[in-house]
C-alpha cells in the first residue's frame, strides 16, 4: 500500500462514460444474444457514442439508495468525498437498464409473453428503488418489421405492451435479428445515449438542489463535494465544458476550507484530484496553457501546506506525484498531437517530480528511524480494509475537529506510517522519474539537461548500491562534460565514480578515475589529490587502498574484503589504460625533431612527459611504437636498478631516441603509432598507460590552441626560460625519410629558342663533388612528365645528333647509363630534342647515382639524385609562301592549259638566329617546267631575322590535261639548318605544299611578239599570233582601235579563218607619238561562232602597255658637251 498510497485512483484517471446495463441477455448459451452483445462491445471506436455497457442478470441487485435527507440542519459531514462514490457511478449505478426480450408481434402466445415481460420490468424497477435510473425494453424479433404505420397489429400490440410495462413509447425498441445487426445496434445505442444523458441531467439538477439547504459554517465540506459530484456527472454526460466549470468552482472551494494539521492531507488529496481533472480537461479542450497555468497555481497554493512535521516526507511524496501526473497528462496530450517546446515539455515536470522524490527520501531518512517495532494493534487497519473518505487517517476516520482525539493513537499511527515509509524503494522511484525526464529532454534537444539528469540517475544508483549501473551512466556522461570542459562538474562526477569503483573493487576503473582526478582538469584540493595518489600507489603495489570519504561504513567493510580477495588473486594484474580519452595526471607529447630526415642522418624523436600530481611518479618503462616495427627496438627506455625514471610534479621531462632509417624506406613516412608507459612493476601490479599516435589527451588540443593565441609567447624572457612552454609544444607524429642530398653539379647549356623540327641540342655537364666514387650514374632526360597530353607525341629526344630522328624516338629517355664518376670528374653529354609543334616545354634532366656512406658507424648504400629542369620555347623558323601569277605577273585565278605561267615563292625568316638555306627544290605534279631545267635559285643563302628569300619559276601545264578540275601541283622543299650549328649537323627538310589550281582550256590563244620598249617616232613592229586550239575551223574578226599615243600601219579590220591546230600571224607597225608608259592600241578579237570567248577574255594574254622612251638626242648636242 505504501507505494500506491499516492497513486491517483483509476476511477479518477479514466474517461467517464455513461453506464448502461443490459439485462435479459444470455451471452453464454444463446448465440443470438451473444451476437448482440458482441455488436455492442466490438469496435468501440471514437465515432461510437461513449457508453460503457455491462451485461447483468435480470434480478441484479443495484446498490441501495439511501433515504434522501430532507434537511441538512443537524448534519455534520465526515469528509469531502467518499472513496466509493466515483466507482459507484461509473460501474454500479446505471443511467439506463435495458431489458432484452424475445418477442415477435405475431407471437401465438402474445398475452402470456406480454405479462412475462411486464413482470421482468417490474423486477428491475424494484431493485432500482429510489433511483432515477431509466428502464427500456428491447424486443428481439426474428422477422423484419414492416415500415411504421403499415403493421396495424404491431402498433396496437406495442402500445399494449407499453401500457402493461408502464413504459413510454420512447423506451420500447425493436431489434430485428437480421443481416443488418450492427446498423440496428448503432441506432439503439444512440437512443440509449439520449436516455443516459437525460438521467445524468436530472442527477446534476438533484445535486444542485441540495445547495439551498447548506450553510457555510458546518457544511463547507459539502460545498466541495457537491461541486465535485456535479462536475463528475457532467463528465458522464459528456458535457466537459460545464464539468470544467464545476471542477474550477470545486477547486477554489477546497482551498477555502479551514486547513489544520489533521485535515491537511484530505484537503491536499482532494485538491490534487480536482487539479488533475481540470488539467486533464484543459488538455482535452486543447488549451494547454490553461492547464499549465492551473497547475502552477495549484503548486503555488499547495507548496507550503506541509502538514504534520513528523510526516513531512508525505508532502514531498504528494508533490512528486502532482508533478508526475501532470507530466503524464502533458505527455499524453503530446501523443494526441500537441506540440511541446524545449522550455516547456513534460521532462521538466518529471524532473521536478524526481526532485521532490529525492526530498522525500532525505526527509524519510531523517524522520524514520530504523529499528522501531511496529505498533500493535495496527493503527492503519480499518474494519472495511480501506478508507471511507479520500485522504483521511485510518485511525481517526470521519474526524473533522482541529485536534486529534487521542494523542496516543495519533502517535502510534504516525509511527506506523513512518515504519511503512522505510520500506519504500525511494531510489527506484527516483530513477524511474529521472529516466522519464531523460527521455523527454532527449526529444526536446536538451543534451546538457539530459546529461545532468543522467548524473543524478547515476548518483541515485550509487545510493541504491547498484554500482555497475551507476558507473555505466556516469562513464557515459563524463565524456560530455570533458569535451565541454566543465571541470568542476567533471570532478564531482569522477569523485562519485571513484567511490563506486572503490566499493566494487574494480581495479581498472579505480586506476582510471584516480588518474583523472589527479590530472590538471580536476578541481580537487591538493590534500585530496595527495590522498588519492597514495591510494593509487597502493593499488600499484598490490595493496588495498584506503576507503573513500563519505562512503557508507557497512559498504566500506564489504569493499575491503572484496579488495583483499582481488589482491590475493594471482595473474590478471596488468591493466591497460587508453589515455587519449581522459585527462590523466601524466601528460605525454612526442615529436620527431623534423618533419623529414635524410636517409644518411639519424632520425631523432623526443618524448616529453609531465606529471600533474602532487607527488613524484616513478615508472619503469617507456616505449614508442612506430609504423615500421623494426625501429621499435631503438625506442625503448627502461629503468635499470636504482636509476629509476621519475617525473617531478609540474616538471616536464624529455626522453630522446634516435635510430637510423633503412634505405628501403626512402620516400616513405614513419609514423608513431603509440607511446606506452609502464607504471608499477612486474612484482606488484603493472599499469600500462598508452597513448595513440604521438600522445596528447582529451584536453591538450584545446590547450595548444589557447597557447598559440597567448600573448605570453612573445612576452619578456620567453627565450630565457630553460624549459619549453608545455602548452605550446606541438606534436609531430610522423616524419618523411628522404634521399641523401646529392653532391654533384649538373649544368645545362643551350641556345633557346628551339626551332620547329630542328634537332635542338642541349648539352649537359655533370661534375662530381663527392668524396667517393659515384657509381651507376644514370641519366633520365626528356620531356618532364605531367605536362599537356599532346606534347608527348610532338617531342622526340635522342642522343644521336648526326641525323634527324624519326617519329619513333621517345619523348623521355630513361636511365641512360653514364658509368661511374670519380671524385671531381666531369662528364658531358649532348641531348637532342626535336619539337614538332611550337610552344613551351619543360625538359627534365635527372641524374641518379649510388654511393656508399656511413651513418653512426653503419655502412649504407645511398641512392642520390639531382634534378634539373629547363623550359624551352619552340618557334617556327620561317614562313614560306607560294603563289601562281601570269607571265604578266598578274595573280592567276585559273591556269590555262599549255600556256606558260609563273610560280613565285617567298621564304621569310622568323627565327631570332641566322638560318642557312642550303637549297630548295620543286617537286612538280601535273604541271611541268616551261624551261628545260629547273634550277633552284637558293643555294647556301643565309637569312637574318626578317629577311626574305624569293624564287620564281616559269611553268606550264602540258596539253592534254584539259579538265576544269582542281589539281594538285606538287611541293616545294627547303633544306635548311641553323647557321651556328656545325657543318656536320643534319639538314632539315621543310616541305611546303603548292596550292591547288583550277585548270581551264582556251579555244583561241593570242600572243604578241613585241620589243621590250619603244622609242618616240621610231617604228615599233608588233606581231600577233592567233592560235586555234580547237578541232574546228575558227572564224576570227580582228579590229584595232585607234590610239592617241600611236599611229600604226596594218590591217585595221580583218576577218579571217584559222584552221584547227594552226596559227595566223598579224603584223602591225606601231609608231609611238608620246613617251612614257603608253597603252597600246587595243586589239578587239571576236569569234562570231563562239561567243563565249570574247575579246576581254582573250585580251588578258596580250600586253596592255609599253614603255616608250623619248627621242634620243644627237651626240653633238651642246648640252651633253656642256655636261
Amino acid at each position: 500500500m505504501a507505494g500506491s498510497q499516492w497513486e491517483l485512483p483509476p476511477e479518477l484517471c479514466c474517461r467517464p462514460m455513461a453506464f448502461v446495463a443490459l439485462t435479459g441477455l444470455d451471452v453464454v448459451y444463446n448465440a443470438v444474444h451473444r451476437a448482440i452483445w458482441d455488436a455492442f462491445c466490438a469496435n468501440r471506436r471514437a465515432d461510437r457514442v461513449p457508453i460503457s455497457f455491462k451485461v447483468l442478470p435480470g434480478d441484479h441487485e443495484y446498490p441501495k439508495c439511501r433515504t434522501k435527507r430532507t434537511s441538512y440542519e443537524w448534519y455534520i459531514p465526515k469528509g469531502i468525498l467518499k472513496t466509493g462514490w466515483m466507482n459507484k457511478h461509473l460501474n454500479l449505478v446505471p443511467a439506463l437498464v435495458v431489458l432484452f426480450y424475445e418477442l415477435d408481434w405475431d407471437d401465438p402466445q402474445w398475452k402470456e409473453k406480454q405479462s412475462e415481460c411486464a413482470t421482468k420490468v417490474e423486477i428491475v424497477r424494484t431493485s432500482l428503488q429510489g433511483r432515477n435510473t431509466k428502464v427500456a425494453v428491447v424486443l428481439i424479433q426474428k422477422k423484419t418489421p414492416l415500415p411504421p404505420g403499415e403493421d396495424l397489429v404491431a402498433s396496437e400490440r406495442a402500445s399494449a405492451l407499453c401500457n402493461s410495462c408502464d413504459l413510454s413509447g420512447k423506451s420500447l425498441f425493436v431489434l430485428p435479428h437480421t443481416d443488418h445487426l450492427v446498423g440496428y445496434i448503432i441506432r439503439l445505442e444512440n437512443a440509449f445515449y439520449e436516455h443516459a444523458q437525460t438521467y445524468y441531467y436530472t442527477e446534476i439538477r438533484r445535486v444542485k438542489s441540495h445547495k439551498e439547504f447548506l450553510n457555510k459554517t458546518t457544511h463547507q465540506l459539502l460545498f466541495v463535494r457537491h461541486q465535485f459530484k456535479m462536475a463528475f456527472l457532467s463528465e458522464l454526460k459528456q458535457d466537459t465544458q460545464n464539468a470544467l466549470k464545476y471542477y474550477r468552482a470545486a477547486y477554489s472551494l477546497v482551498h477555502e476550507l479551514r486547513a489544520h494539521e489533521t485535515n491537511m492531507l484530505e484537503i491536499k488529496t482532494m485538491a490534487g484530484f480536482i487539479n488533475y481533472k481540470i488539467c486533464r480537461l484543459c488538455f482535452q479542450h486543447n488549451t494547454p496553457l490553461d492547464a499549465i497555468a492551473q497547475f502552477r497555481k495549484h503548486i503555488d497554493l499547495c507548496k507550503k501546506k506541509i502538514g504534520s512535521a513528523e510526516l513531512a516526507y508525505e508532502h514531498s511524496a504528494w508533490m512528486s506525484k502532482q508533478f508526475q501526473s501532470f507530466g503524464e497528462l502533458f505527455d499524453e496530450a503530446i501523443k494526441l498531437g500537441l506540440t511541446a517546446i524545449q522550455t516547456q515539455n513534460p521532462g521538466f515536470y518529471y524532473q521536478q517530480a524526481a526532485c521532490y522524490s529525492q526530498d522525500r527520501k532525505q526527509m524519510a531518512q531523517q524522520l524514520c528511524q530504523a529499528g522501531m517495532t511496529y505498533p500493535s494493534p495496527d493503527p492503519l487497519d480499518t474494519q472495511s480494509g480501506g478508507l471511507d473518505f479520500y485522504g483521511q487517517r485510518p485511525w481517526r476516520q470521519g474526524h473533522q475537529s482541529i485536534d486529534p482525539t487521542d494523542p496516543e493513537k495519533e502517535k502510534m499511527g504516525i509511527l506506523a506510517l513512518q515504519i511503512k515509509e522505510t520500506d519504500v524503494p525511494h531510489s527506484e522511484l527516483i530513477i524511474a522519474l529521472l529516466s522519464n525526464a531523460v527521455a523527454q529532454f532527449k526529444k526536446y534537444k536538451c543534451p546538457r539537461m539530459k546529461s545532468h539528469l543522467m548524473v543524478q540517475m547515476g548518483e541515485e544508483y550509487y545510493h541504491a548500491k547498484d554500482y555497475t549501473k551507476a558507473l555505466k551512466l556516469l562513464d557515459y556522461v563524463m565524456c560530455d562534460y570533458r569535451t565541454e570542459r566543465w571541470w568542476p562538474l567533471l570532478t564531482a562526477i569522477l569523485t562519485t565514480a571513484l567511490r563506486c569503483a572503490y566499493l566494487m573493487a574494480s581495479v581498472k576503473d579505480y586506476v582510471i578515475y584516480c588518474m583523472e582526478l589527479l590530472g590538471r582538469a580536476s578541481t580537487l584540493k591538493e590534500e585530496q589529490k595527495s590522498r588519492i595518489e597514495k591510494n593509487l600507489f597502493k593499488v600499484l603495489m598490490n595493496k588495498v587502498p584506503e576507503a573513500e570519504a563519505e562512503c557508507d561504513p557497512a559498504s566500506v567493510s564489504a569493499a575491503r574484503s572484496l579488495w583483499t580477495d582481488r589482491m590475493a588473486l594471482s595473474g590478471s594484474n596488468e591493466v591497460m589504460v587508453d589515455m587519449q580519452d581522459y585527462i590523466p595526471f601524466i601528460q605525454c607529447k612526442a615529436r620527431f625533431q623534423s618533419p623529414s630526415f635524410h636517409v644518411d642522418q639519424p632520425i631523432q624523436l623526443q618524448v616529453f612527459l609531465r606529471a600533474d600530481c602532487p607527488h613524484p611518479v616513478s615508472f619503469s618503462k617507456l616505449t614508442v611504437s612506430l609504423s615500421n616495427q623494426e625501429y621499435n627496438q631503438w625506442c625503448v627506455a627502461e629503468s635499470s636498478g636504482q636509476d629509476s625514471m621519475t617525473l617531478l610534479p609540474g616538471k616536464a621531462r624529455c626522453y630522446d631516441f634516435s635510430f637510423v632509417a633503412k634505405t628501403e624506406d626512402v620516400g616513405k613516412k614513419v609514423e608513431m603509432t603509440g607511446v606506452e608507459m609502464m607504471l608499477g612493476s612486474d612484482s606488484g601490479r603493472c599499469v600500462f598507460l598508452s597513448w595513440r599516435g604521438a600522445g596528447g589527451d582529451a584536453a591538450s588540443t584545446q590547450e595548444a590552441l589557447q597557447a598559440s593565441r597567448s600573448s605570453r609567447r612573445w612576452g619578456r624572457g620567453a627565450e630565457a626560460r630553460q624549459e619549453p612552454d608545455w602548452d605550446s609544444l606541438t606534436l609531430q607524429h610522423s616524419t618523411m625519410i628522404i634521399s641523401r642530398v646529392p653532391k654533384i653539379r649538373v649544368q645545362l647549356c643551350h641556345q633557346p629558342p628551339a626551332l620547329t623540327n630542328e634537332m635542338y641540342c642541349i648539352s649537359l655537364s655533370v661534375q662530381s663533388q663527392e668524396e667517393d666514387v659515384a657509381r651507376d650514374v644514370k641519366l633520365t632526360a626528356g620531356l618532364k612528365p605531367g605536362q599537356e597530353a599532346g606534347l608527348g607525341q610532338s617531342t622526340h629526344v635522342t642522343l644521336d645528333g648526326s641525323s634527324v630522328c624519326d617519329d619513333n624516338a621517345p619523348a623521355l629517355l630513361t636511365d641512360v647509363p653514364l658509368g661511374d664518376l670519380k671524385p671531381g670528374e666531369k662528364l658531358e653529354k649532348c641531348v637532342y630534342m626535336k619539337c614538332v609543334s611550337t610552344g613551351p616545354r619543360v625538359f627534365l634532366f635527372h641524374v641518379a647515382y649510388s654511393i656508399d656512406t656511413a651513418v653512426e658507424g653503419r655502412h649504407i648504400v645511398c641512392k642520390c639524385h639531382k634534378d634539373e629542369t629547363v623550359t624551352v620555347e619552340t618557334v617556327v623558323p620561317f614562313e614560306a609562301s607560294v603563289k601562281f601569277v601570269s607571265t604578266k605577273f598578274e595573280p592567276l585565278e585559273r591556269v590555262a592549259v599549255d600556256i606558260p605561267f609563273l610560280l613565285m615563292t617567298d621564304v621569310v625568316s622568323s627565327s631570332p638566329c641566322p638560318l642557312l638555306l642550303s637549297s630548295s627544290c620543286l617537286q612538280l605534279q601535273t604541271i611541268t617546267s616551261n624551261t628545260p631545267q629547273l634550277q633552284s635559285q637558293l643555294q647556301q643563302v643565309v637569312l637574318q631575322t626578317g629577311e626574305c628569300a624569293s624564287e620564281c619559276f616559269c611553268l606550264r601545264c602540258p596539253p592534254g590535261t584539259s579538265s576544269s578540275n582542281t589539281v594538285a601541283t606538287g611541293q616545294y622543299v627547303i633544306s635548311w639548318r641553323r647557321k651556328s650549328s656545325g657543318a656536320d649537323s643534319p639538314l632539315i627538310q621543310t616541305t611546303v605544299s603548292l596550292p591547288h589550281v583550277i585548270l581551264e582550256s582556251v579555244p583561241l590563244y593570242v600572243y604578241a611578239d613585241l620589243p621590250s620598249f619603244g622609242r618616240v617616232r621610231e617604228s615599233l613592229p608588233v606581231r600577233y599570233h592567233i592560235e586555234n586550239r580547237t578541232a574546228q575551223v575558227q572564224e576570227v574578226e580582228i579590229a584595232v582601235d585607234p590610239s592617241d599615243a600611236f599611229m600604226f600601219s596594218g590591217l585595221k579590220q580583218v576577218r579571217l579563218r584559222v584552221l584547227p591546230g594552226t596559227e595566223q600571224q598579224m603584223l602591225y607597225n606601231y609608231y609611238p607619238l608620246m613617251a612614257g608608259y603608253q597603252t597600246l592600241p587595243q586589239l578587239n578579237i571576236s569569234l562570231p561562232h563562239c561567243p563565249t570567248s570574247t575579246s576581254p577574255a582573250l585580251r588578258r594574254f596580250l600586253p596592255q602597255r609599253i614603255f616608250v622612251k623619248p627621242q634620243g638626242r644627237q651626240p653633238d648636242d651642246a648640252s651633253i658637251a656642256a655636261a
Partner: protein, 139 residues
C-alpha cells in the same frame, strides 16, 4: 539580486562562475550548464532569421521551481548567465537587462586588457567587484 553569475566561452566552457556561498555551488554549475541548451537553441534560431541587429539579451531561459535563469549572448558568442531566486519578484526584466549591460561593459574592459588572453579564465579583480555588486549580499 542574483544568486549566481556566469560567463561562458564561445566553446561553452566556463570562463567565470560565481554563486552565493551559502548554497550548493555544484547545483548552480549544473543549472548554468543546462541553461546552455536553451541558449544554443535561441542563438541558432536567431541565426536563421538573418537579423543583423541581433538582440543580445535572450530573456528568461527557463524557470525552475527555485530559480529563474536569464541569458545574454555577446556578438563574439560569449554567454552571460544570471540566476535569480524565484521568490525574488522585485526584479523586473529591465533590471535584469541593466545587470547584463553592466556585466558586458566590465567584460569588455577585461578583454581590452592586453595581458588577458581570450579564452582564459577571468581573474580580473575589477570584474569580480562588479559581479559582487550584483550578487545577493549574504552576511
Amino acid at each position: 539580486m542574483a544568486v549566481c553569475i556566469a560567463v561562458i566561452a564561445k566553446e561553452n566552457y566556463p570562463l567565470y562562475i560565481r554563486s552565493v556561498p551559502s548554497q550548493n555551488e555544484l547545483k548552480f554549475h549544473y543549472t548554468v550548464h543546462t541553461s546552455l541548451d536553451v541558449v544554443e537553441e535561441k542563438v541558432s534560431a536567431v541565426g536563421k532569421s538573418l537579423a543583423d541587429q541581433r538582440e543580445l539579451y535572450l530573456g528568461l531561459l527557463y524557470p525552475t521551481e527555485d530559480y529563474k535563469v536569464y541569458g545574454y549572448v555577446t556578438n563574439s558568442k560569449v554567454k552571460f548567465v544570471i540566476v535569480v531566486d524565484s521568490s525574488n519578484t522585485s526584479l523586473r526584466d529591465n533590471e535584469i537587462r541593466s545587470m547584463f549591460r553592466k556585466l558586458h561593459n566590465s567584460f569588455t574592459d577585461v578583454m581590452c586588457n592586453p595581458f588577458y588572453n581570450p579564452g582564459d579564465p577571468i581573474l580580473s579583480k575589477a570584474f569580480n567587484g562588479i559581479v559582487s555588486g550584483m550578487m545577493v549580499q549574504t552576511s
